[in-house]
Amino acid sequence: MSILIKQLEIIEELEMFDDWQEKFGYVIDHGKNIVELEDQYRIEDNIVHGCQNKVYIASSFDGEHVHYVSHSEAQIPRGLLSLLMRVFENEKPEEILKSELDFFEKTGIRDNLSMQRSNGLESMIRRMKLEAAKYIKN
């Protein structure tokens, strides 16, 4: 499934919610899908700077697709991470790099974030794309 289709799926799922409380309930629940990050990944190099709480992102490559692991101490960023992972997981690095994410805007999630949190979200997206860039030859 392409990044675009996965975004449309999330937009559709969030359409059934009317207010911020329900939408963020969905985001928080989504965060529960993230598997506990193993200790070997909890290293300085994997920390995403620019987030208010501690966030880790790491990746691996199977020769064709990128796979991510991540962790956040707080639940709302964990939910945002989980949505990002759903969109980027098992995609080709080239596709991740050229993708344009707009589902946070279209679902109204972005409007509900403070400027600091919004910057934190940008840092996560940038980090995931940088991870993908590592696997592109030349």
Binding site: Q21, G25, N53, E73, A74, Q75
Partner: protein, 409 residues
């Protein structure tokens, strides 16, 4: 509480910012420890200054300059009276508490400290009263020592007694903890330091918004605070210092009113306070700060204290009803500040949901990371109250915490 002495609803009318909706809910402002809101009279004083007599001070002979100079110096007198200093020459306008501590470190400290001298601070200091001394120690070879605190968030005085000695040159401590609310026994500690001839600096940023301070009674050498925490604007603060000391220590920045004469061969400096006010000062800020102090002076301080303590006790009781909630800072002597965490929930998540409910509270380490390390937590949520807050606002906070718990569990 004697409500006849303190009509909070009438007082709230003086603060226009409080009457607004945030995220569709009436604003509850519980971040007074970060900065207080401003009464209309302070806002008006800024508009009036810029629309009626804005001018540079001290050197103009023209009418506007004289008006501005007079208002600026009257503000200094207002501040003198506010903290009961002996002379207005002991009041120096600065940019705020952080800059003021740095001023003392870089003038007195750089010139009078030597290797092996000791500076004593406390375990609950704000970074502003840690970092300048660490930098000074690196520059001079002096040693920084820290008076410990206990689990209730109170300083351990027996330890302080052991630590203060002949090598102690300065005891720098906060009057009130911004993160825990503890009111420190500064008078007692000052007397202890004086036995060994050490100087004393008190960071009063979190004290002056809550109770009257008398620097002569405390007998500290320096007392520092910021205007914006006590009804005034940002970017202006105060250094109080004993006059003899201020005249002895060298100036910090050069230029403007701090000079007496300048030739290419030699410059001579003015006396305090002008010696420390280089360049064009924050004239409007000082005038608006004094206006905030006038507002504060017109309040009944006993009634303010009683009202704030009522808020503290009511909020403590209501918060303790929440399952899994733990309060940090349980001193019997506290201003109306409550730091807490809720078991299993990250303060940032709770803070986010409270904000969505229109409640402004601080989350994080409150610029006091060593305190968080002491308790082994990443940060807290902090409700810091002012005299314009109400118990019904506390009820709103509790309801919103319950919503946060439900969403995050």
């Amino acid at each position: 509480m004697n409500t006849s002495l303190f009509d909070v609803e009438r007082i709230r009318k003086d603060f226009p910012i409080l009457h607004q909706q945030v995220n569709g809910c009436p604003l509850v402002y519980f971040d007074n420890g970060a900065t207080s809101q401003k009464p209309q009279s302070v806002i008006d004083s800024i508009v009036h200054y810029y629309s009626s007599y804005n001018s540079n001070i001290h050197r103009g002979v023209h009418h506007l300059s004289q008006l501005a100079t007079s208002a600026y110096e009257q503000s200094r007198e207002e501040i003198r009276s506010f903290i009961q200093a002996k002379s207005a020459d002991e009041i120096i306008f600065t940019r705020g508490t952080t800059e003021t501590i740095k001023l003392i470190a870089q003038t007195w400290g750089r010139n009078y400290l030597k290797q092996g001298d000791e500076i004593l601070i406390t375990a609950m200091e704000h970074h502003a009263n840690i970092v300048p001394w660490q930098m000074l120690c690196e520059q001079t070879g002096a040693v920084l020592k820290v008076i410990p605190m206990d689990n209730r968030g109170e300083l351990i005085l027996e330890e302080a007694e052991k630590m203060i000695g002949v090598r102690t040159r300065l005891l720098a401590m906060m009057h009130v903890s911004n993160a825990l609310g503890t009111i420190n026994p500064v008078k007692q500690l000052i007397q202890l330091a004086q036995k060994f001839g050490a100087l004393t600096l008190v960071d009063g940023a979190q004290a002056v918004p809550h109770f009257p301070v008398n620097v002569q009674e405390l007998d500290c050498d320096f007392y520092v605070f910021s205007a914006h925490k006590i009804l005034g604007p940002t970017g202006i603060g105060v250094l109080y210092g004993k006059l003899q000391l201020l005249n002895e220590i060298p100036p910090w920045q050069g230029g403007g009113d701090m000079i007496r004469t300048v030739t290419f061969e030699k410059t001579t400096y003015n006396d305090s306070p002008l010696k420390f006010e280089a360049g064009t000062p924050n004239i409007c800020g000082s005038i608006a700060m004094a206006e905030g102090i006038r507002y504060w002076n017109a309040l009944n301080h006993d009634a303010v204290w009683e009202h704030e303590q009522h808020l503290l006790h009511y909020a403590t009781k209501r918060l303790n009803e929440v399952n899994g909630l733990k309060i940090f800072g349980e001193s019997a002597h506290k201003v109306a500040v409550i730091s807490f965490i809720i078991e299993g929930l990250h303060p940032y998540d709770v803070g986010f949901i409270l904000d969505k409910k229109g409640i402004a509270m601080r989350t994080g380490h409150h610029c006091a990371q060593p305190i968080m390390d002491f308790f082994g937590i990443p940060g807290t949520l902090r409700a810091s109250f002012s005299f314009y807050n109400t118990t019904s606002e506390i009820d709103r906070m509790i309801e919103s915490i319950k919503v946060a718990k439900q969403m995050l569990s």
